[in-house]
């Protein structure tokens, strides 16, 4: 396998809220596998995707397996870059109150700039 290409990196752009469908979990599975293969991987949250980061949620209450707990294990998969779109937070009246620590809030311009530093972008 031709790994360790320095100019290659994956951005996963999350646009869906966590519990109605599997989009967030499907993106997470990709992130964990890319991390396990030592591929540079970053997570971006935009639109309703920002709900995946909010503190205090509990899928168990509605019988959804809560994959959000797995976000706390990112360090073991070498996933360090987690970005959230400030504009999307503002639109939804949300404060920067996240359930993991390494989230970076970026304004619209910086969010777009950071996203487009990645060679591959998949959106879920």
């Amino acid at each position: 396998m031709t790994l360790h290409q320095p100019n290659k990196s994956l951005a996963l752009l999350n646009s869906k809220a966590p519990y109605a469908n599997n989009a967030g979990k499907d993106a997470l599975d990709i992130a964990l596998v890319f991390g396990s293969f030592e591929q540079a991987t970053a997570l971006f949250f935009q639109g309703d995707g920002v709900y995946q980061l909010m503190q205090g949620q509990d899928g168990d209450i509605i019988s959804v397996k809560d994959y959000l707990k797995t976000f706390s294990a990112f360090e073991f998969y070498d996933i360090e870059d987690v970005y959230v779109c400030q504009q999307s937070l503002i639109e939804r009246g949300l404060a920067s109150d996240f359930h993991i620590e390494q989230v970076q809030v970026l304004n619209q311009h910086d969010f777009a700039s950071k996203l487009t530093t990645h060679s591959t972008i998949l959106r879920f």
């Binding site: 964990l32 991390g35 073991f76 998969y77």
Partner: protein, 112 residues
């Protein structure tokens, strides 16, 4: 492999590969009996890994892939006890798969 495992006179349901269907039914005896099926006697070294994998699952809602497992264990047990050679010697069928099974956790996904 039976579709249940018996311990202390009780039947606990498993999938075809012998993984518990309900991880809350797990007790240490389950691991011992599963290991016996595989002709393996669990030592304290095995238990360190089994307990660690179980704790990882309960904390993060996912079983760790091998690289994540070694990385997470390193902080607690040091370099020597977390090399993949060391872990494969303990669990010849693959540490992620086998320790996960003995820890009563769901079978790791095939595609991962």
């Amino acid at each position: 492999m039976a579709i249940s495992v018996e311990f202390n006179g009780k039947q606990v349901a498993t999938d075809k590969q012998g993984y518990l269907l309900d991880h809350t039914q797990w007790q240490e005896d389950v691991a011992i009996i599963m290991a016996e099926h595989d002709n393996l006697v669990l030592t304290s070294d095995h238990w360190e890994v089994i307990n660690f994998v179980r704790q990882f699952y309960l904390t993060y809602n996912t079983s760790p892939a091998i690289r994540a497992l070694t990385k997470a264990m390193k902080a607690e047990f040091g370099e020597e006890k977390t090399s993949s050679r060391y872990l494969f010697r303990l669990f010849p069928d693959g540490p992620a798969k086998q320790a996960t099974k003995y820890a009563g956790l769901p079978k790791p996904k095939r595609c991962l």
